[in-house]
Amino acid sequence: MKFLLLTLGLVAAAAGAVGGACYCLGGDPALRSAAARHDAMAWLRSDFHLTDAQAGAIGKLHAAYAPACDEHCRLVREAIQARDALRSARADDAAALAAAEQKVRELHATCEAALNEQVRSVAALMSPEDGRRYLALLLPMIAGYGHAGAPDLHLHAP
């Protein structure tokens, strides 16, 4: 019985060591590090094999996009607030509510188009294969935003 337990213990320890080694070797350390630091640029660099020049160009592209993003964000927020005010007022003005809903939809469509253009511009700066992977990952998420809802404050997709 003592030898049986000893042997089982040794096999379990060896299995744990092998499992741990496969876990460490099977992952992507750069991706894990970027995820731990919530560093999107580090992720882009490692996952899409960016050179320093490509990363710099993408950083500039994002910086140039930021003011337009902020402006769109402001317009969307105001439109949502106006629509929500109409909803909570329980006013019997269906036409005004419909117009407010339509404005939110139009702004969402504008934002989606701008974002699509932005990620396509970023993809164009990558190598063709990496650009394809980048678009294949992001475009469905952009298109699915309205159907799945916004991510939560911890940035988890719904």
Partner: protein
């Protein structure tokens, strides 16, 4: 082969024969002592060697399963990390998400 007829003299001798061995008071203790000594001599390598095939099968299954599980968990974590980074990245670029998340 036919059975020979019984020998009356032999039968009588066998009926008179009595065995009276000397009593050994330590017999039982000695038997147990020898059993314990034999058990103690079995070493762990001998135990494993005795069941070598079974232990080899158990070891291969355990190590293979653990390796597969480790690799599967690592890949699942890579996928989850990539998705979380992509969501965070898109949120930073998407005014629709910004409008919802910003105070």
């Amino acid at each position: 082969m036919p059975t020979p007829p019984p020998d009356p003299a032999l039968s009588a001798s066998l009926q008179r024969w009595r065995v009276a061995p000397p009593r050994d008071a330590d017999f039982r203790t000695a038997v147990w002592r020898r059993i314990r000594a034999a058990t103690a001599r079995v070493s762990w390598p001998a135990f494993v060697h005795t069941h070598a095939v079974a232990w080899a099968v158990v070891t291969v299954i355990a190590l293979g399963g653990a390796g597969l599980a480790g690799r599967t968990v690592a890949r699942a974590r890579t996928v989850a990390d990539r998705e979380a980074l992509a969501v965070g990245y898109l949120v930073s670029l998407d005014p629709r998400a910004q409008a919802v998340l910003r105070p």
